[in-house]
Symmetry: C2
Subunit: 256 residues, 2 copies
């Protein structure tokens, strides 16, 4: 279960290099992609300024239309076509397709996120069927509520929820690829990657305030995934995907 | 195998009414949709005037981006979300997804169609797997060449080629829904629908020049599909889908 970050999606050469490494992974695999900056650029071209609160896009009806077009249309199908050309039998879906991910409109006191979705459930049978058909799901960060409403949904959370739901059936490794080399002991130093992280050590690091604040929600989620049955969570640079999945690069988070 | 025309896609109420009738069809089914006018409107908003030759869009790189976004993103996912809300387990795909439809760039002396695709082959196994998984494929009119090139592809032809490829495995009925009530004896008179059409009668009608010229390529294709093993082709108004599939409305084209 591999989540690809926006920094790679926005860079054509990085994306192709990443997909080449993804395509040759032998085990059953799923790719979840975010949206990158293209949706924002498209919205600006169409004269719709974008609002963000706490890193989440405020999705009004017109913005939902744009993210559906850009994420589920342009980005998803371009990734699928590239993977197919690399002999990886990709099939691009959103959470609406095959009713794969159900969500509800996010509600939080005082903030109207618009058409943003928080996940209720993952239809593991849908993913298992595709995987057993030797297909590789490529998931765009759009889900639905089952009542004809598409919802813009955080790609990190999608990756985590699919990983959790599949962990009863498979040994699941969840890889978050992003712009840094892993969880850093010293945020200023790319060479200070923590190779292995378990809960005790993480608590220690949090108490001594050594962890970069922006990493905390990601890591809290990673430990929730581990508790829910995911085998390992690996966080690191997308460019090193081949080394990430073997644990030679990045930070590996596990139970012990 | 049902093809839905642009006139229905462009009208929200017509589309919902159509999908309600589609959702309750009991047998295994596939929906192929065209693009409607939304891609043209989006292109205009973005300042890209659209060129058509013989009813086919000239697809330059920017236009391909837009049709991929609009057809495979916006229209496809909105149809899927609607069908899911009607308890129809839709899964939206393009020809790139699951390598379902391979095509090549159209070449015709003197005309550069750009990124427009003519179909080489349909991966019937991909459609059969989805159908056996109790999923209803919803196909956007985008295919690929297997070498990382998406191609804009005529939806009528996609419907026909899928129908032909599945006719070795299933009894296939191919329905073309469009704005007229069927094949008309008198193009001015909506009540002059020809109920049943077979090859002998069609040749007769063509010779006496009674058939509307615009229908001829559609009908030639319909007879090609019949010759290739498709059971019936039915042409008629999308609003009457329930009556089309039972043969109570529209024109039914068959071997005899």
């Amino acid at each position: 279960m591999i989540k690809i970050g926006g920094n790679i999606i926005d860079d054509e050469l990085l994306l192709t290099a990443f997909l080449k490494k993804f395509a040759v992974i032998k085990s059953k695999k799923i790719l979840v992609h975010g949206g990158g900056k293209l949706a924002t650029r498209m919205a600006e071209k169409l004269g719709l300024p974008q609002k963000m609160i706490e890193g989440r896009r405020i999705t009004d009806a017109e913005t939902l239309k744009i993210v559906t077009m850009v994420y589920a249309g342009y980005i998803n199908k371009n990734i699928v076509a590239q993977l197919q050309s690399m002999q990886c039998n990709a099939i691009g879906i959103t959470g609406a397709d095959g009713n794969s991910i159900l969500s509800h409109t996010r509600e939080k006191a005082g903030i109207d996120y618009g058409f943003a979705g928080d996940i209720d459930s993952v239809n593991s049978a849908c993913f298992i069927q595709l995987l057993l058909n030797e297909q590789t799901p490529v998931v765009a960060p759009i889900t639905h509520n089952g009542k004809n409403q598409l919802l813009n949904t955080n790609a990190d959370t999608i990756a985590q929820e699919i990983a959790k739901s599949l962990s009863s059936f498979f040994e699941v490794v969840l890889v978050y690829s992003f712009e840094k080399s892993g969880v850093l002991k010293d945020v200023e130093n790319e060479n200070s990657v923590i190779e292995k992280l378990h809960l005790g050590y993480y608590r220690e690091l949090k108490e001594t305030e050594k962890i970069f604040a922006g990493m905390i929600p990601k890591l809290d989620n990673a430990f929730k995934a581990i508790e829910a049955g995911v085998n390992k969570v690996i966080i690191g640079k997308g460019q090193e995907l081949d080394q990430l999945i073997t644990g030679k690069s990045g930070t590996t988070i596990s139970h012990e």
